[in-house]
Symmetry: C2
Subunit: 217 residues, 2 copies
DNA sequence: ATTAATTTTTAGTCTTGTCTAAAAATTAAT
DNA sequence: ATTAATTTTTAGACAAGACTAAAAATTAAT
């Protein structure tokens, strides 16, 4: 399994986490910032290896084996992200790039020991679930901040988009995992919200609100 | 800097740690388990990049820049080895392979944070010195076990060869860093030694004794 | 000081993963 | 239902890094 192959499997998984859907060549190309022709080549190769099924002009769908590999890479990615934040004082907007490298390290023992070292965590620093050794992904019960109405209260439990700039924006306004959020007002026109976080009021656009996961309990 | 380039620089450094000597093409090929013709190609490439000087039919010598890169990779390798042993319960015969991968992760912040996390250690699990951020390598004052005479006492502070089988042999006989060693008898014929470690006596061949570093203080 | 053995380099080939440009298939639009 | 637009595939090329086989240079040996 080369680095490139692993990245293809991961991309396809992210584009169709629910196993059934076919992923279009172009979608993969766009996600990996490569050309469609390169994707066609690689997808054929992975098909030969039995890691996905490929139908010309239709796209690719991960096989059980391919999916297993993809999930394992995501497991590693998220464990390393948590390690960086918890043990090495990285902030959540700094971890992605490094984890993209670390996720390709091959050593089953390393992964399991790291998992134990971190206390068998269930979520990474962005609130994304960490698959277990068998490849099961914990299901999480969360909704988007944008679904709340004025007066609602909730707790931030994750972000949909882990883009560094978005995360830095959240840092600036004190929004972090576990933080309480209260919706003070919601503007019907543009769906922007006035929210209170850490006793401070800030107005967030709909774009922001649809990228923050919350739980109300 | 590709993975391959990094491995060449590292190999050349290991073959001539003392900066001055030219390293023969064949020596590099042998160390990297590759062919001499491949080495010639790569060495030319690295020469073009200013990382070493290459004289046809003579060999290669690292430049300041090339040496700096090599030392940094070794720094990372040794920090990761220590991490694996100290934090993830690896034994010293299991770390090399994984560290060979981890040493290529690119993130200055990661290295410095890891260094701090480990308490800015000076030696790795095999007793090898860990270069500092500036590339300085602590000089160590150690000798080989084989230089001792009957009656001498010393402490094991490192191994010359980190081969997994050798390390497992040491494990089996309780020889580890920090362990006290007493030379009970030395056979003039084959230079083998009878030594006491952890109250047990074992006979070690000259081959073994010339691969164990000790300090007497 | 030649010849022999060894080392190193050159020349040409291969694989992996990428690309561009052109052809083919699919989907959308009138 | 054709034509137009888009997507996907094919064909051919390229760079990196390795290899083999043959040529050239160096070193060793008689």
């Amino acid at each position: 399994m080369t680095l490139s192959e692993e990245n293809y499997l991961k991309a396809i998984f992210h584009l169709a986490p629910e196993a059934d859907a076919m992923v279009a060549t172009n979608a993969i190309a766009h996600r990996l910032e490569t050309k469609a022709s390169s994707v066609t080549d690689m997808v054929k190769k992975l098909s030969d290896k039995g890691l996905l099924t490929y139908v010309p002009y239709q796209g690719a769908r991960l096989s059980k084996k391919g999916r297993q590999i993809a999930v394992n890479i995501i497991r590693k990615h998220r464990l390393w992200e948590l390690f960086l934040v918890e043990k090495l004082n990285f902030s959540w907007d700094e971890v992605h790039e490094v984890a993209e490298q670390l996720e390709h390290i091959k050593s089953p023992k390393l992964v399991e020991q790291l998992d134990d070292f971190l206390g068998n965590p269930k979520v990474d620093p962005h609130g994304d679930p960490i698959p277990d050794k068998e490849g099961n992904i914990p299901v999480r019960d969360h909704r988007l901040l944008s679904v709340l109405k004025a007066g609602d209260r909730a707790i931030c439990v994750g972000v949909k988009d882990s883009d560094a700039n978005f995360l830095k924006y959240l840092n600036k306004h004190g929004i972090a995992l576990g933080e309480k959020i209260e919706v003070i007002d919601k503007e019907p026109f543009d769906e922007s919200m006035l929210i209170r976080v850490r006793k401070k009021e800030i107005r967030v656009s709909q774009q922001i609100a649809t990228n923050i996961y919350i739980e109300t309990r």
